[in-house]
């Protein structure tokens, strides 16, 4: 009952805040062909991470993009990105002034995860285009039927393409405010198993995109690649076109979490239909509104494809199924491991399926768990996003039918029932089922962890208040109580099993024979230990039983003591080996385990982990060679025009990375790293491409002090103490409720930091050094219009609809908050000071301040158009901004870049024009 009240309160809070969420996100201004100005996120600059870096000897052994592993890693990254960061503030992680931690979570993890989705499953063409999806097929039939009266006899029926391009996209443009869709992007609904992520064309960074529809030729305010995504295609010949159920499940999860992110708020912009009228549009901003719709459509098409085509009989025959009526005892139907699509390339459209065949008839626990994990999330979004899922879209303003909910619900039920029917020996789950031999007898830690995670997600989604209310289910029993109970039972059995087989030292084997309970494989492999932690903590979250958290901490300490290699900041892959093998799964499972350990650790014990975390991330992801490229959002503010690695983090701008035209910002498939000199010879014997972060010319600095950031150990049991405060369960961004451990109250000591210092160490990554907003809102209104107390309320209480963290509230329990009220007031006072107001005005007028890191080149270029520049920007203009910045720093003088870029209107009046153009900025 308590849980229900918490949920209802959170829901009410969320709903109350949603309409208030106005909103623009960011600050490159795009000029649309119809004369509007809309706002797009810009890049930002990173803090100095040199103290976290140590040189590594590594080899990139494989750059291939394996969809399943890559998207799994991105799923884990998402939950430390902007949404996870907000959760951490609510949970009162002592992140105050920890800029490096902010950066590697809120910015790097966020963008790397986001770009993995965009570049991996939309611009790459690495999958079957959504336009061929069953949702559009049904719509094509429906609309053809409806429109028959208006059409000549014998005229052909409407095609999927007609429906998508002719009906839905134009409608969407008006609902989100974007003027057109990206050229050549093909969101896919069924992802291929893998592909080589090299770009096949030259990525255009000048502002010279010519829109064939409107004939607008450049001068958009964004680089060409923003609209022309053709260079981002991967070579089709390198793709493994097999459909891997695990990969499909992971991408389902990917998109479902991003749907919620993209639609967490509306935005106000000029109406695409009524000139001059400002209206509320769907999505955080125009771009994200569009992306959110695409994600929704992609997921829906995928689920319909699964249920309508991929429900295999044990003999390998594929077919459709009504999942709500499905019962395994009446004949098994399941989603087999590999399906080979028979595709055809028809010239003017991407490949389309004309047949399917089962390539691998096995059912794998990883696959089914991935699907359950993903579709449980999607199920949640159907009821979480009532503006999107409506009764009669598009007539009533929605995008998709709410009636899709029962499909997803049925699919989840089907998978849970199948796990019980196919993947069990006794009460325990096993990794594999095959038509010939039935259920196997072993389970791997990897599969076990994901299964527990998925079952926990399923159970809690079926108890989720929105869905319960929407479906009129019993709040305590949830939706489909019989299936929910079955899932809970399997989850508990599996968790108990892990506890039972955990070694004395906290270790896990790679797998176990569930009949004999003996380990299989090795007990000295790091990824099994991380998987064990992830599984145990999922069980802890589901049951709130502390014994699982204790077991997880024991494994954590084992990792800290035996696996962590402090000189390099990496975990040994295997004890006894000095060569570390990193894959996206390793990054994902390590990240997931570390993140959940932090959330399970009392506040007063977290700080050492926060201080260590950037060290682990920088070494594992950035310096090792795992992250292959990046964009402006994570530091390449000048688009690789002169420097491939402007921000000196060892990661090149995407078009300057490996390959003829660069490589997608994604994780490499396999990287080997030598731990120390003795391992170098072993590394030399391995195949692969030597990785040198300095090869991109970024002057990467390595200033890690040996021994300065050890991996902290944790007490297995949190000692009872009168100082400990019991905490309320916390609802994270994903909509699930998590227990928080009892903690000592957090009272940040007054370090004497001024408002300016506090601002620069906590706020600027989102709001910009001069308050123009990046992923957070601009501060003009706060500085010039709001009262002191009015502005104070925003950081104090946060803004759920904008992912503005509750810096001064925390979880509204006795533990406290990250910033004290006094500190927040200091920040407010600084923002409202004349010094900062001047900074805002100067920055808006295009003045570079030598004391601050640079802004994205298109911040200035897009403003130059507003102030009189006519010519479309070239790479030379990007260079102009860069050189102006360098000159400003060298001479310690302010430089007006807009003038250099050919702006003709008065700089002094610039902010007024800009304010008009970006009207939403000043109205919240």
């Amino acid at each position: 009952m308590t849980r229900g009240i918490v949920r209802k309160t959170c829901l009410a809070l969320l709903l109350a805040l949603l309409p208030a969420g106005s909103l623009l996100l960011a600050h490159t201004l795009m000029n649309t062909p119809d004369g509007r100005v809309i706002e797009i996120k810009e890049g930002t600059a990173q803090p100095d991470l040199a103290i976290y870096r140590t040189p590594l000897k590594s080899k990139v052994q494989e750059r291939r993009f394996y969809m399943g592993n890559a998207q799994y890693a991105a799923n884990e990254m998402f939950f430390v990105g902007q949404t996870g960061f907000t959760d951490m503030i609510r949970a009162v992680f002592p992140v105050r002034a920890k800029q490096a931690f902010h950066w590697v979570t809120h910015q790097e993890a966020y963008w790397y995860a986001r770009l993995t989705m965009g570049f991996g499953a939309a611009t790459s063409h690495c999958g079957i285009s959504m336009i061929h999806g069953p949702y559009w097929t049904v719509k094509a039939q429906e609309y053809s039927r409806k429109n028959r009266l208006q059409r000549d006899r014998g005229e052909r029926s409407l095609s999927n393409k007609d429906i998508f391009l002719g009906f839905y996209l134009p409608l969407l443009y008006k609902r989100v405010g974007i003027p057109r869709v990206f050229d050549d992007a093909h969101p896919v609904y069924l992802e291929f198993a893998s592909g080589m992520p090299y770009f096949t064309g030259k990525m255009g960074v000048a502002d010279d995109f010519r829109d064939p529809q409107s004939a607008k030729d450049g001068a958009w305010g964004v680089p060409r690649y923003w609209y022309d995504t053709r260079p981002f295609r991967w070579d089709h010949d390198t793709m493994d076109v097999m459909l891997d159920m695990g990969a499909i499940g992971q991408t389902q999860k990917r998109r479902a979490v991003w749907m919620a992110y993209m639609y967490k708020a509306n935005h106000i912009e000029e109406s695409p239909s009524v000139p001059g009228e400002e209206i509320t549009l769907l999505g955080n901003d125009a771009e994200e509104g569009l992306r959110g719709a695409m994600l929704t459509w992609m997921n829906t098409n995928q689920i319909l494809a699964l249920k309508a085509q991929f429900a295999a009989h044990p003999d390998g025959k594929l077919g459709g199924i009504n999942p709500l009526r499905y019962r395994p005892e009446e004949g098994l139907r399941y989603f087999p491991h590999l399906i080979r699509p028979n595709l055809t390339l028809l010239g003017d459209l991407p490949e389309r399926p004309v047949g399917w065949s089962v390539k691998d008839r096995r059912s794998l626990l990883w696959d089914q768990s991935s699907l359950l994990w993903g579709m449980s999330e999607y199920f949640h979004q159907v009821y979480r996003l009532p503006e999107i899922f409506t009764a009669n879209p598009p007539v009533d303003g929605g995008l998709m039918e709410k009636s899709l909910g029962p499909v997803v619900r049925g699919m989840n039920n089907m998978i849970v029932r199948n796990l019980a029917a196919m993947h069990r020996q006794g009460d325990l789950l096993v990794s594999e089922w095959s038509p010939e031999t039935g259920a196997g007898t072993t389970v791997t830690l990897r599969d076990s962890a994901l299964a527990i995670l998925a079952l926990r997600e399923f159970v809690d989604r079926y108890l989720e208040i929105n869905a319960v209310e929407a479906l009129g289910a019993d709040e305590d029993a949830g939706i489909d109580p019989e299936v929910t109970r079955l899932a809970g039972k399997m989850l508990r059995a599996q968790a108990e099993f892990l506890l039972a087989v955990q070694g004395q030292d906290g270790s896990f084997y790679e797998g176990y024979d569930v009949t004999s309970r003996r380990g299989t494989g090795r007990s000295t492999v790091a990824r099994s230990q991380f998987a064990g932690i992830r599984a145990l903590l999922a069980a802890y979250h589901a049951t709130e039983n502390e014994k699982y958290a204790r077991a997880a901490r024991q494994t954590w300490n084992l990792l800290a003591g035996s696996y962590y290699h402090e000189p390099t900041g990496l975990f040994r892959s295997q004890l006894g080996s000095d060569v570390v093998e990193l894959t996206p799964y390793d990054v994902g499972i390590q990240l997931g385990a570390i993140r959940e350990i932090m959330f399970t650790t009392p506040v007063h014990l977290i700080e050492p982990i926060l201080d260590w975390y950037p060290r682990w991330w920088v070494q594992t992801v950035d310096i090792s060679g795992m992250q292959q490229s990046e964009l402006n959002f994570t530091g390449e503010l000048f688009y690789g025009v002169r420097d491939a690695d402007f921000d000196g983090d060892g990661i090149p701008f995407a078009s300057k990375g490996p390959g003829r035209h660069g490589i997608a910002p994604s994780l490499a498939a396999r990287v080997a790293v030598a731990l120390g000199g003795s391992a170098s010879s072993a590394l030399a014997g391995l195949e692969g491409e030597d990785h040198d972060p300095d090869r991109w010319g970024g002057n990467v600095r390595y200033e890690y002090q040996a021994g300065s950031m050890p991996m902290p150990r944790l007490p297995i049991t949190i000692e009872e103490s009168d100082e400990l405060v019991e905490r309320s369960p916390m609802k994270r961004f994903d909509g699930l409720t998590y227990p928080l451990p009892a903690s000592k109250p957090y009272h940040p000591s007054d370090t004497g930091l001024t408002g300016k210092q506090l601002l620069q160490r906590n706020c600027i990554l989102c709001h910009g050094w001069t308050g123009q907003g990046i992923t957070g809102l601009p501060w003009r209104a706060d500085a010039f219009e709001r009262t002191r107390d009015s502005m104070f309320e925003i950081p104090k209480f946060g803004r759920a609809s904008r992912l503005m963290p509750e810096w001064g509230l925390g979880n509204a329990d006795g533990v406290g908050s990250v910033l004290s009220d006094e500190e927040i007031y200091r920040i407010v006072d600084f923002v409202q000071s004349d010094e900062f107001k001047t900074l805002i005005e100067e920055a808006e007028a295009g003045i570079i301040h030598p004391q601050f890191p640079p802004k994205d080149a298109y911040y200035y270029i897009s403003r130059a158009y507003l102030h009189g520049r006519k010519e479309k920007a070239t790479e030379a203009d990007i260079l102009t901004v860069l050189e102006a910045y360098e000159r400003a720093v060298a001479t310690n003088t302010k430089i007006n870049v807009l003038e250099l870029l050919g702006a003709t209107s008065s700089a002094a009046g610039a902010h007024k024009e800009e304010q008009t153009a970006a009207g939403a900025a000043s109205r919240r």
Binding site: V138, F167, G319, G320, G347, E351, V395, D396
Partner: protein
């Protein structure tokens, strides 16, 4: 509850309004009571249950994309890896015109003007082609195109030829024929689509029915005349006896008076037929198999081309002996590249098209003059005597005949296509006729 007696019309009206007006949320209006849901079918749960979704898709494919064959990406022959969508008919008419002069006949890879110096053949081929796409709806039995070809041949022959280069023997032939050729029926099957493999691959097999005549003769329905030798004793020249070359003087000019009529006109058969390459038909069933590869280039794959396609195809026609004549197997091969000149409307095809003709074979022997004194075969080499010999019938055609292909493809509508092609000879055959140019024009329409 329905909002209208006609939900379809109501839905259409609402959609029409939405097309020009922003949605309520976008207009910033406060949400009104949402309209009652129109009772539209929402077949989500049962989608694909009673009828396989892929079957629905396959039915829709024809409507959604009227041709599986991008009209501007295929060349002048069907030697590509595309197949038609199920139940789609394409009809085409093509015309080829070839003019073969005397210097377009070859022997040993060289021009054979000694024999064909004054000869000229003009041939017009008309082909009516019907293509039909079908699908048997089972694994491995998808993506078929059936292909029926009905050829017509019109030819006009005019000029003199000199058997064995004997300049003093002129055979004048002036004739024209209009005949149906061998009707053929093929089945083409796409076995690999480029979407699943770097190239699309199709295979083909078919039959040529012996509907065309194989017994066209010299002079039939036309005029034939020769300058014949003077007879020393009124009878036919003795075989194997050297005779003075003056025997070739004298000028009887009708066929009937020609003393060794059988010897000259029976070069290829006892009844004086034309060589097989000039016959409209084979006279017997023949079979053809082929394999075609197509690589499409998508935008960005091959700058500066937007879309383009590379086609390679080869066919082998196995011929049977008929009436003592073996026409020899024929291999056809082609490599062409098609790219748009004006996107969506005009393409250009360039490449190579060639045939390799195995030597034809004619049973039996015939009598023909040889010049023995000077060892030459031509009077101009100084020979003083001619000897008539009975020899096996020689082959008439053999070897590789290769052409550069240039086609202009115009498609004003995806279902209509015009192709104008020029084949320019670049490889001369070892033996037989090979026109220096062939002009081809075709029109096809998809139904």
């Amino acid at each position: 509850m329905k909002t209208s007696d006609s939900p379809a019309a109501a839905g259409l009206l609402l959609l029409g309004l939405l097309a020009v007006l922003p949605p309520a949320a976008a207009r910033g209006e406060s949400p009104q009571d949402p309209p009652e849901p129109v009772e539209t079918p929402a077949p989500w749960l049962d989608l694909g249950v009673d009828e396989p979704l892929i079957d629905i898709e396959r039915k829709l494919i024809k409507d959604q994309i009227r041709t599986f064959i991008p009209p501007l990406l295929r060349g002048f022959t069907p030697m590509h890896a595309f197949t038609l969508p199920p139940n789609t008919l394409e009809a085409g008419l093509s015309a080829r015109f070839a003019s073969i002069g005397g210097d377009d006949f070859f022997r040993g890879g060289e021009e054979n003007t000694a024999a064909f110096g004054d000869f000229d053949v003009e041939r017009l081929f008309l082909d009516l082609s019907l293509f039909y796409g079908f699908d048997l709806g089972k694994k491995y039995l998808h993506n078929f195109t059936a292909f029926l070809n009905v050829p017509f041949l019109a030819s006009r022959t005019d000029g003199f030829l000199h058997p064995n280069g004997v300049g003093l023997i002129d055979i004048m032939n002036r004739a024209s024929t209009q005949e149906i050729g061998d009707v053929s029926l093929f089945i083409k099957k796409k076995v690999v689509d480029q979407a699943n493999f770097p190239v699309g691959i199709a295979v083909m097999g078919g039959i040529f029915f012996p509907t065309g005549a194989n017994d066209e003769r010299f002079g039939v329905d036309g005029l034939i005349a020769t300058r014949a030798p003077t007879l020393p004793s009124g009878g036919p020249p003795p075989v194997g006896v050297p005779l003075p070359i003056e025997i070739l003087a004298g000028l009887p000019r009708t066929v009937g008076q020609f003393p060794f009529n059988d010897g000259v006109f029976n070069r290829f058969s006892d009844d004086g037929r034309l060589p097989s390459v000039l016959q409209p038909g084979d006279g017997a069933m023949s079979y053809q198999v082929g394999v075609f590869l197509t690589r499409q280039f998508l935008p960005g794959d091959l700058p500066p081309f937007h879309r383009a396609a590379l086609h390679f195809g080869t066919t082998q026609r196995f011929r049977q002996k008929a009436d003592g004549v073996d026409r020899g197997d024929l291999n056809t091969h082609q490599l062409t590249f098609v790219f748009p000149l004006k996107r969506d409307f005009v393409s250009l095809e360039v490449g190579y098209f060639g045939t390799y003709q195995s030597a034809d074979h004619y049973d039996g022997t015939f009598i023909t003059p040889f010049f023995t004194d000077a060892g030459g075969t031509n009077v101009s080499s100084g020979a003083t005597h001619v000897t008539f010999k009975e020899v096996p019938r020689p082959p008439f055609t053999k070897g590789e005949w290769g052409n550069l292909v240039t086609s202009l493809i115009v498609s004003p509508d995806p279902q209509i296509r015009f192709v104008a092609t020029l084949l320019t000879r670049v490889v001369e055959p070892d033996l037989g006729p090979a026109p220096p140019n062939i002009f081809r024009f075709s029109l096809s329409a998809l139904f």
